[in-house]
Amino acid sequence: MSYFTAASLDEALKALREAEGKALVIAGATDLFLKGMPPQAVDIASLPELGMIVEEQDYFTVGAAVTHAAAASSPLIRVKATALAEACAAVGSPQVRNLGTIGGNLVNAAPAADAAVALSALGAKAFLWDIDGRRWGEGLENLYAGYNRSRIDSSREIVLNLIFKSCQFNEGSAFARFASRKALSLPMVNTAARIRLENGVFTDVRLVAAPVKPAPTRLFKTEEALLGKKPNEETRHAVEELASAEAEVRGSLLRCTAGYRRHLIGVLAGRVLMTAVRRAQGEEES
């Protein structure tokens, strides 16, 4: 295996071009041993432009090589994209969080990747650059080709960053997961919400659950039903029922039955929604 640490994005793209499909982009490399070594690796983890967390004109730009640990401890993200901070803090273990990157979490395409679920709720778009110089943005839910399969071709495409609107004073977000163990454990369910309240009612809701489909899955019907509603216990119960009914889930021998997973999606949807509401109302800061 040959290993190349790129000093700039141009250098990384050049290396990929020259490898003619034999090299793969890597960053945190936390899953490299699980997935098998590529013949050549182009390491982009230390590129400065991929490691930034910037908020400009109400928009966040989070570099693809930002580690989970960096995102979880960023004061900006903790306040204005709390769901992402919570999701990143829940991933794996300290070692995984210190190395594993948010871009890698997306490209890895696990169906219940914590950061991806939070980013989906936040409405993030991924911006990519390929070896032919093409640059484009894409809703991150569109980047999945199947279970654990990404549409992103790591031999010729690089995720640069994720861009989403930061939460404003009347907005809030939250993330929750349910797993059998408190660390190093894939979730049975994870959910995230982003909401806006105006005049005491929901005027915008994004509610995402996983693992439902290969990609983080928005619960559109539940979202829609919430618009114009007041955030109270009644609404929470309604969300629990709606989310539970809307999510089509599978059971697994290793995690839990489909019925229990469906129940958990309801409970967790209710919880993230109400936590996001409290944040929007300024009652709680994490």
Binding site: R181, A183, L253
Partner: protein, 757 residues
């Protein structure tokens, strides 16, 4: 001796918390474990395993594999000259010649210059199988039409036992209350950090030296000699440091040792073999799985009248230690309480799954899950407090239990009271669950070999005035050797750090049954005490001879009434010169009182008995069933505590393991194949999951153990499953009767009761 006993149990001081030099080699990364071993010219062995749960081997073609450069030898079952062997039942071959019985069964083995070459060769071995119908369920395996795993065992029952004590029929007839329940327990793996590894060296004299860290090296040595058909004196076991054992390495992995020995004999070179983590799970020896049906008869006042147990244990494809585990699982818990009548039926059944063995407490810990749950079920029906019903029935000092165990020192009632007091039993908070579990364990089991019940030790005064202690008892983290240094230090009036302990070379260390059945501190420690006392006498006698005056020994110094002082170095040199090179040596042999254990397995099985009561405090999320274990209080009667730091460490570790098996772990199978053979999916607790643990020591003074000490090895895990099951039931309103106690199972109970929110 009385004053010295007090010295052992005085409050914690640095001397009482002495740690052996080996501990520091572990902390600083210098310890050499089995997986670290490298010998000159060493080859690497790998095993080809069956992909089928049940099949005949029609043909094996190794020609292509032999052509891989770097491959030195390939063996199949038909190359081996040995006969089927076993620990209890001779039903296993190191490589199966014609019949494989589980996914993972050993079919062929390769030795090559490195791991990669060996793996490459494995892929080129072509095996033609004829698949056979397989059976995975113990119930189905006993049906007449079920596939037979072993010719000699029709009905697939490997071992059975029925036992009746007292008059169970009238106990149940006269009972005011009969409670019954079924419990399901899966296989558990100890998940020690170091997978089993060994290096076998074929010696020029035809013998074998096996470098392997096992808990009972002398028994492994006996077995190797027997299977390899070598004289015992030509088999030597040398032990590297062991990276955790927990009862899972009592005999290590005998097939692995034998295969590496055969490969080394074939090639004339050392052969290293090591299980991968996946092989540990799929082809190691996890603890026996069990289905328990249990009934209890009680009087209205909560008095236990009788207990019936119908136990089916899942052997997997071969027997290993499963008969012993099944036996302990079936009866040990009967002696926690005064139960006058017992009826027990056990069947150990072959299935086409991974063979099983022993883990930490010979099944006692999972039986605790069933027994203690059923006691609380009865207490609830009788409206008696769970603490009260246990105190009313628990075994007391001087009692002979229903199976004939003779209880001398016993602080069980005090343990129960102390654990309840510490957890705040009488002030229980609403919304939380509280539970109790109680346990007995045979400390210093003597029935493994009735002809060799005790232990021996040898201790010498070296020329530099330091002490070398030779023992066959193994330390793999329990602190046994530190405790031995402390025991010898008391007898010799020395600092424990001056006493080095050697245990890992069968050429020089005394024979031992090994680290099992909590023998180490009780029996091994007693032998150390006796050996050290003999050496003390010899030192005093020699010193007195040397200076021609009577002497006394104090604080490592020897002096006469006239004020003449001599030190250990002078005495050692004097004796050395006078005898032309001998060292002053004390040999100690501890022979426990004759065991009364009879053919009906009635009688006293151990030198002493340790006791424990654990109390757990848990909380359940009513919306999801998620379980938070806040706290476990672990009160233990292990006699006088020799080393409080090591003893507390034993408790922390055992409770964490008990919590893991109770709430997280357990094998999952898919058509006989282990579905969770990785540490990602077989979930042991992380530091974040571990509850607050409070050890309490009830220090009884045992008449048999060294300076009043008893064992603290297996028992630390035993009461945890029962305490947690009862705490969960207290919070959820009903019992989870299937281990592990998961959130989903708790949620099912809440839903059924309409208590789920």
């Amino acid at each position: 001796m009385q004053t010295e006993a007090t010295a052992v149990s005085k409050p914690i001081s640095s001397k009482d918390n002495y740690q052996s030099a080996e501990v520091w080699t572990k902390v600083t990364g210098k310890a050499i474990y089995g997986i670290d071993l490298r010998l000159p010219g060493m080859l690497y062995g790998k095993i080809l395993r069956s992909p089928h749960p049940h099949a005949r081997i029609r043909k094996i073609n190794t020609a292509a594999a032999l052509k891989v450069p770097g491959v030195r030898a390939i063996l199949t079952g038909s190359d081996l000259s040995c006969s089927p062997y076993g620990i209890v039942i001779n039903d296993e071959m190191p490589l199966e010649p014609d019949h494989v019985r589980y996914v993972g069964d050993e079919v062929a083995a390769v030795a090559a210059v490195d791991d990669k070459k060996a793996e490459e060769a494995l892929k080129l071995i072509h095996v033609e199988y004829e698949t056979l119908p397989a059976v995975f369920d113990t119930g189905e395996a006993q049906l007449p039409e079920a596939p037979q795993l072993h010719e000699n065992f029709p009905g697939n029952v490997a071992w059975r036992r029925e036992v009746v004590r007292g008059d169970p029929e009238s106990a149940f007839r006269n009972a005011d209350l009969v409670v019954e329940s079924k419990f399901h327990i899966p296989q558990f793996h100890p998940a020690y950090l170091e997978p089993i590894a060994c290096v076998a060296v074929s010696e020029p004299d035809g013998g074998i030296t096996l470098h392997a860290a096992v808990q009972s090296p002398d028994i492994v040595r006996d077995l190797l000699a027997q299977v390899l058909k070598l004289p015992l004196s030509r088999v030597r076991i040398v032990g590297p440091v062991m990276g955790g054992g927990f009862g899972g390495k009592v005999y290590g992995n005998l097939n692995l040792y034998l295969i590496s020995a055969f490969l080394s004999m074939q090639t004339g070179l050392p052969v290293k073999m090591q299980l991968t983590r996946e092989e540990e799970f799929t082809a190691g020896r996890p603890m026996v799985a069990a289905e328990i049906k249990m009934r209890m008869a009680l009087g209205n006042d909560g008095t236990f009248l009788g207990r019936e147990m119908d136990l089916i244990t899942d052997n997997g494809a071969y027997s290993n230690q499963a008969p012993w585990v099944s036996n302990t699982l079936a009866e040990r818990n009967d002696s926690v309480y005064h139960i006058p009548a017992i009826k027990t039926k056990v069947r150990l059944v072959y299935t086409n799954k991974v063979p099983t063995g022993q883990y930490r407490a010979y099944g006692n810990q999972v039986a605790n899950f069933a027994c203690e749950s059923l006691i609380d079920m009865a207490a609830k029906k009788l409206k008696i407090d769970p603490l009260e019903i246990r105190l009313r029935n628990c075994v007391r000092p001087g009692e002979t239990t229903v199976h004939g165990l003779q209880i001398k020192s016993c602080g069980l009632a005090e343990c129960l009271a102390a654990a309840a007091e510490e957890i705040g039993w009488t002030k229980r908070k609403k919304g939380h669950g509280y539970g109790l579990g109680a346990a007995i364990h045979a400390s210093g089991s003597v029935v493994f070999d009735p002809n060799l019940r005790g232990a021996s030790a040898r201790i010498s005064l070296e020329l530099d005035g330091n002490i070398s202690l030779f023992t066959g008892e193994q330390d793999y983290g329990q602190g046994t050797h530190a405790a031995f240094s402390q025991i010898a230090a008391i007898a010799l009036d020395l600092e424990p750090s001056r006493i080095s302990v050697y245990s890992r070379d069968s050429l020089v260390t005394p024979y031992s049954m090994g680290a099992l059945g909590m023998r180490q501190a009780t029996i091994g420690g007693k032998a150390v005490q006796l050996a050290a006392e003999k050496l003390r006498e010899k030192i005093i006698r020699t010193a007195s001879e040397m200076i021609g005056e009577p002497v006394i020994m104090e604080k490592g110094r020897i002096g006469s009434a006239s004020g003449r002082l001599v030190d250990f170095t002078e005495i050692a040199h004097y004796y050395h010169g006078r005898t032309s090179g001998l060292t002053l040596t004390g040999e100690g042999s501890y022979v426990p009182p004759e065991s009364s254990y009879d053919d009906a397995k009635y009688g006293n099985i151990a030198v002493t008995y340790s006791f424990a009561a654990h109390a757990a405090e848990v909380e359940i999320d009513p919306e999801t069933g998620a379980l938070t274990v806040h706290r476990i209080v672990a009160a233990h009667d292990s006699g006088r505590i020799i080393n409080h730091l090591s003893a507390s460490g034993q408790i922390y570790g055992g409770v964490v393991q008990g919590f893991g098996m109770s709430c997280l772990e357990g094998y999952l199978f898919n058509e006989g194949r282990v579905a969770n053979p990785t540490l990602a999916d077989y979930k042991i607790p992380t530091a974040l999951d571990v509850p607050d643990i409070t050890p309490i020591f009830i220090e009884t003074d045992d008449p048999e153990g060294p300076y009043g000490a008893k064992g603290l090895g297996e028992i630390v895990q035993v009461p945890v499953p029962g305490a947690l099951a009862n705490a969960v039931a207290d919070a959820a309103g009903d019992w989870v009767t299937e281990m592990p106690i998961t959130a989903e199972k708790i949620f099912r109970i809440l839903s059924k009761r309409g208590a789920a929110k």
